[in-house]
Symmetry: C2
């Protein structure tokens, strides 16, 4: 198919497709003349994956490119694929770290939490640093109520992780497996966030009752 | 304090503070001369809140500004505050929606899920549209395994939402309550994501065993 059809099929504008080609996110089509190329189903699939990582996963172009390279590495193991996806997500959210008193406290609390739940994680896991940053932020803001709930969050996270790793692990084809793990890791964050917000609306309505329906912002009746 | 001290206290550069002042995110200090102003603890607190929403919550400057205006509205109810925070998060991730066959299927599946869990949510809740987009993306990619797990995610999300709404609801002061709800809604996403990734590493190591430690990406031994 021509680039115009690829654009329609994937709901992605032609300039955007050309940008992905230039950045090396999308592999080139087959040249039929010096300024024309044809594309096939593999391009449709790849474009959908690019959009999922960029739009749903909110990854940067650089992080998306690096994950696509991992997906293209033959025989990448599930555990490795997950590690790569986690690093891509973490690197995108990396920022300057303030090692103040709040951070020291958070660091101890997170280490105790990991211990309490018996999690075997390397202390170089970027998610642990990310979690410490978040807990430190909550201390600095004086919003300790979320910190009280760390164990509730951790139990729910463990249940979700247990089920999804087991489910993805059942994939037979090793190359599909790597892509599946990366999609699950990146898209799963957004999936859970959407569900949590829906559940929050329900709980909030039950808990705050009639007042809720009178005032629920812009959602209207 | 002078702007230099405010900068040190909050680990935010002077140009960045000036940018927040210009954008109206941070309220002005008390002028002591035409080009000098002094700041107090309320500015330290506000700057920390701005950084939490921008850096941890990954909100845009516009969404952060709109939430700060909500926090500054006296007597905002908890349910309203949550609605505003959810709208700010959703609006930031809004994108063109493709109403294809995958989207139609996703729309039915999400409606059935909400029904099955007995959630009372308005169908104008932006998180429902976001969830539908994500499920449609997974259909388009052919990664249906995460869709199989929607109920597991939904149960975990309900447990988390139940506990956090109850905990935040115990706050006495109505103005602190609004800020607490907004922080919980925005920062909670990142908190759960970090915990889920830590739990994933643990489960993946247990499930894939020795192979895991040999290949876990850049984390090293």
């Amino acid at each position: 198919m021509r680039i115009a059809e690829l654009s329609t099929r994937t709901d992605t504008s032609v300039p955007t497709i050309k940008y992905y080609l230039r950045e090396g996110l999308l592999f080139p089509g087959r040249r039929t003349s010096p300024n024309q190329a044809v594309y096939d189903e593999s391009h449709v699939r790849r474009l959908r994956l690019i959009r999922a990582l960029l739009d749903v996963g909110n990854l940067s172009v650089a992080a998306t490119k690096s994950l696509l390279e991992q997906i293209d590495t033959p025989g990448l193991s599930a555990h490795s694929a997950m590690g790569k996806a986690q690093y891509a997500l973490a690197r995108d959210s990396e920022r300057d770290r303030t090692h103040d008193e709040a951070w020291g406290r958070a660091d101890e609390e997170v280490a105790a939490l990991v211990d309490r739940h018996g999690w075997s994680v390397k202390n170089t896991n970027p998610s642990q640093a990310m979690l410490t940053d978040i807990v430190a932020t909550l201390h600095r803001l004086g919003h300790e109520h979320l910190i009280d709930l760390l164990d509730v969050y951790a139990d729910a996270a463990a249940t979700v992780a247990q089920t999804e790793v087991a489910r993805v692990g059942r994939t037979r084809n090793v190359d599909e497996l790597a892509e599946g793990v990366i999609v699950a890791t990146v898209v799963g964050d957004a999936l859970f966030a959407a569900l949590r917000r829906l559940a929050q609306e329900d709980v909030s309505r039950r808990m705050f009752g009639a007042e809720a329906d009178r005032t629920h912002g812009e959602s209207g009746p």
